[in-house]
Subunit: 426 residues, 2 copies
Amino acid sequence: MAKLTTQPYKGARDFYPEDMRLQRYIYKVWREISERYGYEEYDAPMLELTDLYRAKTGEEIVNEQTYSFTDRGGRDVTIRPEMTPSLARMVAARQQELAFPLRWYSIPNLWRYERPQHGRLREHWQLNVDIFGVGSIAAEFEVIKVADSIMRAFGASEDMYTIKINSRQLLSQLMGDYLKLDVMRAHKLSKLLDRKDKLSEVAFNLQAEEIVGDEMIRLKELLTIDSIDALPTVVVESGLAENLRQLIADLEEYGVNNVKFDLTLMRGFDYYTGTVFEFFDTSPNNPRAILGGGRYDELTGIFGQVNVPAVGFAAGDVTLADFLNTHQLTPSLSSATDVYVAVIGNNEKTARKLAASLRQAGVNAAIDYTGRKAAAQIKTALKQKIPYVIFVGDEEAKTAKYTLKNLKTEKEQKAGVNELVTLLQS
Amino acid sequence: MAKLTTQPYKGARDFYPEDMRLQRYIYKVWREISERYGYEEYDAPMLELTDLYRAKTGEEIVNEQTYSFTDRGGRDVTIRPEMTPSLARMVAARQQELAFPLRWYSIPNLWRYERPQHGRLREHWQLNVDIFGVGSIAAEFEVIKVADSIMRAFGASEDMYTIKINSRQLLSQLMGDYLKLDVMRAHKLSKLLDRKDKLSEVAFNLQAEEIVGDEMIRLKELLTIDSIDALPTVVVESGLAENLRQLIADLEEYGVNNVKFDLTLMRGFDYYTGTVFEFFDTSPNNPRAILGGGRYDELTGIFGQVNVPAVGFAAGDVTLADFLNTHQLTPSLSSATDVYVAVIGNNEKTARKLAASLRQAGVNAAIDYTGRKAAAQIKTALKQKIPYVIFVGDEEAKTAKYTLKNLKTEKEQKAGVNELVTLLQS
């Protein structure tokens, strides 16, 4: 047989313990802050019937970017490319029994068939935070506050990212009542706006003119608007502009000062119905969205249930890690193992007893069973980022006093079992 | 469009927060104990090239039970049915740089296309604990001790499960030197032994006789052996029996007294090369394996690397949950949210300020934004298993003294913000 490759599947990652430490740190912060705001963890299967995504995920993703296949029983299934459809399915399934408002979060892995590139891989992990059952902007306020608190917990300061905010409803109204576009043209224009950053100005203008025709001048004017106050009176009168203004004011009252109105912000998914937002890295070295979300009030309806208002956001591990690296916020993380017990000579039994006592007291301890020289055993501990080594040789076995070495400071000291526990726990 | 189903994919589970609490408890114990013994977490992609499993996973699984398909780039891929091949791939990929012994663990979700039944679902989560680089029985001792400590941490006592133990090498020697079977027949007999519990005695005997012929009497004698001392001299002289005896003695020295030699124990995978073991539920209501593992010293070789000795085990969440239920060890778990802030009347702003102060102090707090009556808000907290409610009404907004209600005891008390923090943290 030809020898097998040791490479992971293209666009997916192996997490060696050193890589996993960063993942664990990311998941821990995500969990801590989500729970601080009263969100509870849920999970769903990694496979769903393909129909679930046909409804609202968006054609490009379903037709070109999913991992879809037929199972051995003839069902069309898809590895989840996003979590929101599974979430809406779960809420709809128990809509009568559940106690609203629901605050739920999850950290699923998701798959998209794409060309792997900076910030985008085929498999990634994604925090999903959603609130169901609150129709007022209190929901947007809270969800954006959760996202912002997460960024702060990672050490980010407000100059490192901008929070772009917009409203699909407001945009709809502008396209209908101001630009006088019919539903079809309005939909086309939204899709074009969503791709605006990927097009040259000339290309964008050409395609926009095809859609809006004579209204091109008004569209261009609209696209220069960068504050809510400058919006046409039609959206001011309907209250949509006031809603956004109030939301931004509420956020400012709670110390979130980097919110910026952006009329071109769309967010890709078809299911958004109101506010949309995006946290965008301000560094010129990593000009990309770190997380995004919005209001989707009509998603449980696709399961034959009454619609429940909902707001949520999603944040990916790959884009976050890039952000942390860009701003030098990636922490230096050591092993979960507190101490490495090096065995010198024929003292395995003593080492085993010692390790058992340490573990009993809650110390995470690994034993070297290789019988190598002390230097080789220390090297193993260093490579595995374990901060301490205890040596167990003939002398130590006899006196029950062990040498504890701090691998960072290289300081050594002799200590009995109880003292070792105290030293290692401090 | 026809309405979509709200059911999860067949044989897979939705984890609502109440279900997720149990999963989180299981993962937490798995992580804590694995780390106590110096194991570090790793992870690998959920998709692998199908070739990875063709080598050593076993034909039945690969041909009949995997989720395999061709990706959009023409690659044959499989959703992982087990973790060990990915682990061996990762070790082989960095075999020169890694510092051995390696102690690694992971909690992947795995997929098998099977008829869903008690204890077996299509998607399950599985703890994998493995040590690489230790050829002596110190590795078996440690790995079995980790598994045993996990059972104890879940509250199990030694009468609730038996640790069955056997050796593939010892069995090989018996089949070759004692039953005089050639390699082909020996392989067939192993496969038959693996299925022994699923067959009637008559069916087993018929199929066994076809393989061993005249040696049927000796085979039957072998199968009655239930202690190492009763084994034929051929395996006693080779030292294999002594190895097992020593392992059992070592475990007993450390308080593991429920180990039982079982010559028919095989464990399904083709890659095991030495000791195999299995933790088996002693309850007649749940007579099944809870976890299993063994030694596999020849797995990195399939990647063109030198073989590294390895021992590991895997434990599934579904079988564990069944075990906990059977023995009434499933704990009662409450929400991660400490307190629910009920808003009475037009006091949302005060509630928000209060919640912010609580969160600042590390209390997990959710706010009710629905404007419903107090009773309805309490009901939401009760349903979500949140232990405390704080009421924020006109009186509270004025005095900054809030009513804290313990939903279990129904006791109420008035307190200011700082006092609330102290009460909720104790």
